[in-house]
């Protein structure tokens, strides 16, 4: 039997991936975080309009470790991180596999601006561990990693790159299409970009801005047009959180999507959560950027189709 050529070819990428995981752990340990593991199989994922959980018996595989990690925060765990597999039904493309690896970290008494700086430091550390310089090559682009990285609000990004303003895109229900076709390809081209301050309805678990409650303190990190991470200043008002979950639930019902029970234990303990910020970063995508991979298939041991 001949060797599986695809796997033979992938060895370099998988070794680099192992180094990336190692570098992430060292970074967080050095920063005073500790690593936690929370269950992959849970009874009640956060109801979000466009994220579908995979059923597992009468429970679900988690779509991210967010709710469990916030319960730890609420119990006084101030700096925690986790690297784990997550599952999202139906997500498959050159940047998606339905099972993937997320890095999440949470920090009490911080906000989304603090997380931006941690992103800058973490990704620079990962790049230097891999022996890459301050400059990344990704899909023909040369991207400088030296901080500060570009910061642009969603509203400004629409002004600069889209053919209509953000408010109009929301009213005409084409926000996502414009984001994908006109804005994302322009982000993180010469430096990584933080796209921040999303419309409130696009951030079910984020805190709203004091000075403008139509916006949420949420950002996404892009490198070379690829979305790498999503972060919030966390919403800690349990009553408001329940309202938002109910509204997401009714939206899901209107689309005949699977509905989940409300995560009651999370909602109860949220009352005790300190002000905090949290972020989810796609480790597969980080590997893609570091290795200038053509697709996500190049940085995983097996794609679903290969199983």
């Amino acid at each position: 039997m001949a060797k599986n050529w695809t796997l033979v070819k992938r060895q370099g990428a998988l070794r680099a991936r192992a180094n990336i995981l190692q570098a992430i752990r060292l970074f967080f340990i050095h920063e005073g975080y500790f690593e936690v593991e929370t269950p992959h199989r849970i009874p009640a994922p956060a109801p979000e309009s466009h994220i579908d959980a995979v059923p597992s018996g009468s429970w679900f595989l988690h779509t991210s470790p967010e709710l469990c990690m916030k319960r730890l925060l609420a119990a006084g765990y101030e700096k925690i991180f986790q690297i784990c597999r997550c599952w999202r039904e139906g997500e498959r493309g050159s940047q998606h596999t339905p099972e993937f690896t997320l890095l999440e970290w949470y920090r009490a008494n911080s906000d989304y601006l603090g997380l931006m700086e941690e992103c800058e430091a973490l990704i620079q550390r990962v790049a230097s561990t891999l022996g890459l310089s301050e400059t990344l090559r990704y899909h023909g682009q040369t991207i400088e990693l030296s901080p500060p990285w570009e910061r642009i609000s969603v509203d400004d990004a629409f002004q600069r790159y889209a053919h209509i303003p953000m408010k109009k895109a929301l009213a005409e229900h084409c926000f996502d299409e414009i984001m994908v076709e006109e804005i994302e390809p322009q982000l993180g081209r010469s430096k990584p970009t933080f796209l921040y301050d999303y419309p409130a309805e696009r951030a079910a678990l984020a805190r709203l801005k004091k000075e403008d409650p139509s916006l949420a303190e949420r950002f996404e990190l892009y490198i070379g047009g690829l979305e790498l991470a999503n972060a919030f200043s966390e919403l800690i008002d349990a009553e408001e959180q329940r309202k938002r979950f109910l509204s997401e639930q009714s939206y899901r019902r209107s689309l005949s999507k699977l509905s989940y029970p409300l995560p009651e234990k999370f909602l109860k303990e949220l009352e005790a959560m300190p002000p905090a910020a949290g972020i989810a970063l796609g480790v597969d995508r980080l590997a893609m950027v570091m290795l200038d991979a053509h697709t996500i298939d190049d940085v995983v041991a097996f794609t679903p189709e290969e199983l």
């Binding site: 979000e48 309009s49 139906g90 493309g93 926000f175 996502d176 994908v180 079910a204």
Partner: protein, 187 residues
């Protein structure tokens, strides 16, 4: 009817009365946003490519194409000649209409010719075809310095990357869906 969940490379649908084939397909999802299906489609008659983004639930009329078993005979300028295996009737297809399929057309290869309202507009290839490597760099056994693949030209003129151990003159199997090397054929 197809829905956007059926979209994949190679799917054939009717848009504004013309048959189109999906040439590039990707799933996309801007953070916390809805799933979007981004496609490039090629008009199977004119060869002109268009880009479209679809949402979950969008529907498509399948392009119903007649398929006839034919043998590829030869190429003249940019025109490819085929013969119907049953009627011995000969037909031609332009290089534009063939698209990437022209990379794999070796004389005497049996293919399915596609007809839309009786006009030949393209071919459906076997998933795997064998082609001979006519040009590639020599590899010295035991050489560990080099990269994990090298460029090679096959007899149709198509250039692809192959493992270093494959030598000029050898027969290889290509996956026509991806255009990539699959295995070496032992003769």
């Amino acid at each position: 009817m197809y829905t956007s969940a059926d979209l994949k490379k190679g799917l054939k649908v009717v848009i504004d009365g013309d048959p189109y084939v999906v040439t590039v397909f990707d799933f996309s999802k801007p953070g916390k946003g809805q799933a979007l299906y981004r496609t490039k489609l090629r008009n199977m008659i004119t060869g002109i490519a268009i880009e479209r983004t679809y949402r979950p639930g969008d529907t498509f009329e399948p392009a119903l194409l007649e398929e006839r078993e034919m043998q590829y005979l030869y190429k003249e300028e940019h025109i490819y000649h085929f013969m119907d295996n049953q009627t011995y009737e000969q037909i031609t297809i332009t290089e534009e209409a063939l698209g990437e399929a022209s990379h794999y057309l070796k004389e005497n290869l049996n293919v399915k010719v596609l007809l839309f309202t009786d006009k030949a507009i393209g071919v459906d290839l076997p998933n795997f075809v064998n082609l001979r490597v006519i040009k590639t760099d020599i590899w010295v056994k035991g050489d560990t310095s080099g990269s994990d693949s090298k460029p090679a030209t096959v007899e149709t003129g198509y250039v692809l990357r192959i493992p270093p151990f494959v030598q000029e003159g050898e027969l290889i199997t290509l996956d026509t869906r991806t255009g990539e090397y699959s295995t070496r054929v032992k003769e």
